[in-house]
Amino acid sequence: IEEPLIFEQGHPDKTGVDLPDPPDLPDRLGGLARTGPIGLSGLSEPEVVRHYTRLSQKNYAIDAGFYPLGSCTMKHNPRLNERMARLPGFADLHPFQPQSTVQGALAVMHRLSEWLLGLTGMEAVALSPAAGAHGELCGMQAIRAALDARGAGDRRVVLVPDSAHGTNPATAALCGFKVRGVPGDDRGRVDLAAFREALDDQVAGVMLTNPNTCGLFENDIMALATAVHEAGAYFYLDGANFNALVGRVKIADLGVDAMHINLHKTFSTPHGGGGPGAGPTVLSPALAPFAPLPHVVAEADGGYRLIERVEGDMQPFGRMKGFHGQFGVFVRALSYLMSMGADGLRQASGDAVLNANYLLARLSETLTPSFEGPCMHEALFDDRFLKGTGVSTLDFAKAMIDEGVHPMTMYFPLVVHGAMLMEPTETESRDSLDAFCDAVLALADKARSGDAAFFTEAPRHTPRRRLDETRAARHPVLRWEPPEPAKAAE
């Protein structure tokens, strides 16, 4: 079924929303009224429902199947969380109501903070970052602020391993830092010697992911942290992979100064096809004074207060976004945290790691794991098993789609050739993993038996087959335009 754009349907006279007549009063626009039509179409409610229902049916989703994207933690999104976020007492709150009328909302923020601090052992948390990359920015700006405060503002180098997420160097650059790469060793970890070598008095901090993007725990992490601190720098941990550790390891014990937590990954708020997320950032005592506004504090009388302006000796580096953070996401995450509890979270990280190792074990029958196990919560393979088959990692992934499963993350981390990074999460059942492994192993056999066309022609059963990305980038068409004759006729 083809579904035209909304602009190619309907008629500007129609509407799917009935509204009363505006009061018949002279306008007070000062002559700034819009002239001429906007160019929108118009559809009745049933047409809009059908349009977006049909579009949704062209999507894959975790509700419908396994979604083993490495580094993305696509776990089950409980509907309880959605219900809680929609309670009128949470959903219908204006950010600037008098604080006396939003004590429950402030309590939610405070409780969430206590959870995040309890799980990480850190000193403070900035709730307001809107997503992971925004949390990175928060942490790195706190580092800049701390350096400035101690008169070390001229340190302008940040160490970033080659296997880092792209957001890490981009964030460092946004804070005026220069990125210095750090190579990995053949165990898939940061090369400790090279790392120590790279540390000098220009280094402001290091941005590390742990477990790293190869799915491995940086087992030299204590030494790395010590070296960072001895060099007078700060240790930023990318929290994208926190799901492997939650309920088991306190981040503070690893010597971390700042880490963002993706509520939309680790704490199961839905990814929504690209957001919204939330990236609260936990901070060590050294960075805590610089946390951005606003803050929520518990008062002696049992109430809560939202601090929106500098008070006392706080030294916030500023403000990260409008209002008070991703409140709707906070409610969902808190609902999840309360549901899981400390015991459930520990079980979850254990199951996440178990599931990944199970994939690693089963798929290693044919696929080529990049490093020796055990892995943490994701399993990394390279494309050696496809050597000589004429099938690329991309082709292999597209053939998986035809088997009804979403592909893993491809070509990342960059340190591995033709990488295939698979993160099952704890919410996949053994049956689901087995079905996935059976399908992947069968495809691998098929690839190695010489049927390359099966792969290069995939996918076949999707709403669209492979799309021409080059064309899209060379001649960008980024919006609908009314057809030329219609334009002329206007």
Binding site: M84, A170, G273, Q347
Partner: protein
């Protein structure tokens, strides 16, 4: 635990297959000293769905829902009525639980809606292109300032006094450690006229808001001309997108980048977040743009389809040279926005805007009759600044809250150190404001100011 599918029997069998003795063995790379046995005693154990629901519902009732009485709050967050259809559709698992559309063949639903979103944003702002959303308007303005600097290769940004203080602060904060200097002018409830004289050839951009934070509508054309004469860009923030159904769009007044806050269309207030940043610009600047873009292309059978495109601007390809570090954005809020806009359509969107303006005109008419109250904003869309000379506006707001009326937002909440703003109150009306709400406000204010 209801969310965990593995049984102990599964775990045992899987460990056997792996060749490990226990789950703990899989954590052998973690320093043993950090794997203390029970370091999380202070945190609660798991809870049943019933218990969580009871607990959180009790917290929710400790808040007063904005809609439970007359509500005149705006200041960047506008309470609009969202059709039930919108929330129904965004809760479909295929939208709600999908990832960023990296595999376009199985993500055409998300991609097409993003393309529709981009088009709608471009249409209502009067701009050529728009991206697939920012976190919110505040971060969008910050990114716009950075983008203007990339486009112009200049390092100074001027933020007008009528820009939402959160946008201004976020921009200053975002650029604090870059080589771009941000100058934020003092709050200015009376207009942008004097801005024109301040623009010079050192500026990458001037940032204004329309209607501004104090509700005032301005013609930006002269400012735009002056900016362009000086080689600077004009960045226009729109905190209330519904205004664009009635007010001349920034694109028609010469804006180079338009940033909007979209949550007011399609979403509940949610205590201010998540929002959705609208971000539109001229086609020639598109490769300087931050954020994700959906683009049209064809599949191998020649059928029209959509992909994420121009990703060489983005962090996952470009790393430290990226236009922004943004990755996760506001996909679902953007979807809600698009569905609500599609339901409204040309006729509905225009009518909604006219209704909002009409309600505000009606409200202002009533307030003008309240003695001791002065309406400051001469031309407006759905929000105005009023002064309560001799009164602390925040105290008046507290008094009225005690009577069940959320009267407005006092300026002192943003500028506690500006005593001359202490009597200022922002008051807003939308389509949800009823005549009896307005009368209740006027009565209560008359009492409070007597």
């Amino acid at each position: 635990m209801r969310y965990l599918p593995l049984t102990d029997h599964d775990r045992r069998a899987m460990l056997d297959r792996i060749g490990a003795g226990s789950v703990d063995d899989l954590f052998c790379d973690v320093p043993a000293e950090t794997l203390a046995d029970a370091p999380f005693d202070a945190l609660p154990e798991h809870a049943t769905e019933m218990a969580v629901e009871r607990d959180l519902s009790a917290l929710a009732t400790r808040n007063r829902a904005a809609g439970s009485g007359p509500c005149f709050l705006g200041a960047g967050a506008y309470r609009h009525h969202v059709p039930a259809t919108v929330d129904h559709l965004i809760q479909r698992g295929e939208f709600l639980t999908a990832y960023t559309p990296y595999q376009p063949e199985v993500s055409q639903g998300t991609l097409q809606t993003l393309f529709e979103f981009q088009t709608q944003v471009a249409l209502i702002t009067g701009m050529e292109v728009a991206n697939a959303s920012m976190y919110d308007a505040a971060t969008g303005v910050a990114e716009a300032a950075a983008m203007a600097s990339r486009v112009t290769r200049r390092k100074r940004v001027l933020v007008a006094g009528g820009v939402h203080p959160h946008y201004a602060e976020t921009t200053a904060s975002f650029l604090r450690y870059t080589d771009i200097k941000v100058e934020v002018l003092d709050p200015d409830p009376v207009g942008i006229a004097d801005l024109i004289g301040r623009v010079n050839e050192g500026h990458a951009c001037v940032v204004v808001q329309n209607p501004d934070f104090f509700g005032r509508l301005s013609d930006l054309s002269a400012l735009a001309s002056e900016c362009h004469a000086q080689g600077a860009l004009l960045v226009v923030a729109v905190a209330e997108p519904v205004s664009l159904g009635l007010v001349k769009p920034p694109g028609e007044m010469g804006a180079d980048i338009v940033v909007g806050e979209g949550h007011a269309i399609g979403s509940s207030l949610n205590f201010g977040g998540p929002g959705v940043g609208l971000f539109a610009t001229r086609k020639k600047f598109v490769r300087h743009m931050p954020g994700r873009l959906a683009g049209e292309t064809e599949d191998q059978d020649g059928r029209r389809g959509w992909v994420l495109t121009l990703s060489t601007r983005e962090q996952h390809i470009r790393r430290e040279k990226a236009t922004s570090n943004i990755c996760t954005n506001s996909g679902l809020v953007a979807l809600a926005w698009t569905i609500h806009m599609s339901l409204l359509g040309e006729a509905g969107f225009s009518r909604l805007a006219r209704l909002n303006h009409g309600k505000a005109v009606e409200l202002v008419g009533l307030l003008e009759g309240v003695s001791g109250l002065e309406v400051v904003t001469p031309t407006f869309f759905n929000e105005v600044l009023v002064r309560l000379p001799g009164h602390d506006a925040a105290a008046v707001v507290e008094t009225l809250a005690g009577k069940g009326i959320l009267a407005g937002v006092p300026l002192s909440r943003f500028w506690p150190t500006f005593p001359e703003l202490a009597d200022g109150l922002l008051v807003c009306a939308t389509e949800t404001t009823e005549r009896e709400d307005m009368e209740a406000l006027a009565r209560a204010l008359t009492e409070a100011l007597a």
